[in-house]
């Protein structure tokens, strides 16, 4: 099972390239053009990541992160969510780059293979920047009355956080 997961990405790369070649696509220029746009996105997130990781590292050094965790601990423990991930839950629906910064900080601080580090990674991978997305979509469509869109989307986020914690304990017991 582990081997299948480890080899999934290399095989996806090969499979995609072969399929592209059969379809007579110039896969090399597609690969390099795509990589160019990936580089541009990476450069775009550099300035916000520097600003956010500065603030997040200061918060961690000051002890405010642990404070937030212990403040929210009663609620989070009841939901089965490790309290150490509290800062990520707070920023996740608001800002994508802040979530990336906070998530990376948690993964670094607790280790990528720890329960907390894995839970933070799964949370990052299974939720989105809800408020930003709602603003962009309804802004573009000229919607003023959003009805139940925000509560339904936030409920999905909450379910994602709880499910992330539960799935990590399911797949990585002990």
């Amino acid at each position: 099972m582990d081997l299948v997961l480890t080899m999934l990405v290399p095989f996806l790369m090969l499979g995609t390239a072969l399929w592209g070649a059969i379809r007579k696509v110039d896969i090399w220029s597609a690969l390099t053009d795509g990589a160019m746009s990936g580089m541009q996105s990476a450069f775009r997130i550099l300035p916000p990541l520097v600003g956010l990781l500065t603030a997040v590292s200061m918060l961690r050094a000051s002890g405010a992160m642990e404070l937030l965790g212990s403040l929210l601990a009663p609620v989070l423990t009841a939901l089965g969510i490790p309290p150490e991930t509290a800062p990520l839950l707070v920023v996740r629906p608001v800002s994508g780059s802040a979530a990336l910064g906070v998530g990376a900080d948690i993964i670094r601080a607790y280790g990528p293979d720890s329960l907390v580090g894995r839970t933070a990674a799964v949370m990052l991978g299974s939720t989105e920047t809800t408020f930003y997305t709602v603003a962009v979509y309804f802004g573009a469509a000229g919607i003023r009355k959003s009805r139940y869109a925000v509560p339904a989307a936030l409920l999905a986020d909450l379910a994602g956080f709880c499910a992330a914690a539960w799935a990590v304990r399911l797949f990585f017991p002990g």
């Binding site: 696509v25 200061m58 000051s62 608001v94 900080d105 509560p151």
Partner: protein
């Protein structure tokens, strides 16, 4: 603007907390460490991001995204019953959904906005059930291969950064199911 307030709040709170707990010097040092950590993180992610957007571009040009979108269409028509007969809307919705599955962030947003604009025509600025469903499926992450997260784990010294994939799939599926169910239930109650 919101980010400005958040940033000032974070830095202010860190300084206040640091001084209150006697960790002022640690906070000052952390500011510089954090700034370079931001650059290091971006640089270590850049390779993964380039590789994966490259592979995704191959998928897009060789028609894999299009095929997936055709495959998903019958399922999506059930999710958007009001638009099932509206060709242009369902085209945009299914292309948006398949781009989200493959993690084609740059392609999915314009497609989703196209669908949103078409759905909003003549609705007088009030979100229809279809628009709410579109927002819910776009605020729930359904990406099959979260490459950036794997990059972060690998940068932190993880030897098998993709071992979280089954957990991500289960969590994403539960999250999007809850979102869709909530939207369907609320659409009856919320007039």
């Amino acid at each position: 603007m919101a980010m400005s307030v958040i940033w000032i709040g974070m830095v202010g709170l860190a300084i206040f907390c640091g001084l209150a707990t006697g960790r002022g010097p640690d906070v000052a040092k952390a500011a510089l460490d954090g700034a370079s950590a931001g650059v290091e993180l971006t640089l270590s992610l850049m390779g993964v991001m380039c590789l994966w957007t490259g592979v995704m571009e191959v998928m897009r040009r060789s028609g894999i995204a299009e095929g997936l979108s055709r495959l998903l269409r019958p399922l999506l028509c059930r999710l958007y019953p009001d638009y099932a007969d509206d060709q242009p809307v369902m085209d945009a919705v299914s292309a948006n959904f398949s781009a989200n599955l493959l993690g084609l962030g740059n392609a999915s947003t314009p497609l989703g906005l196209e669908a949103a604009r078409r759905m909003a025509v003549g609705k007088d600025g009030i979100a229809t059930d279809g628009l709410c469903m579109l927002v819910v499926t776009n605020t729930a992450s359904i990406q099959l291969i979260p490459a950036t997260v794997a990059g972060i784990r690998s940068a932190a010294g993880c030897t098998s950064p993709f071992d979280i994939l089954p957990a991500v799939w289960v969590a994403s599926l539960l999250s999007v199911t809850v979102g869709i169910t909530a939207a369907k239930c609320m659409s009856r109650l919320w007039r």
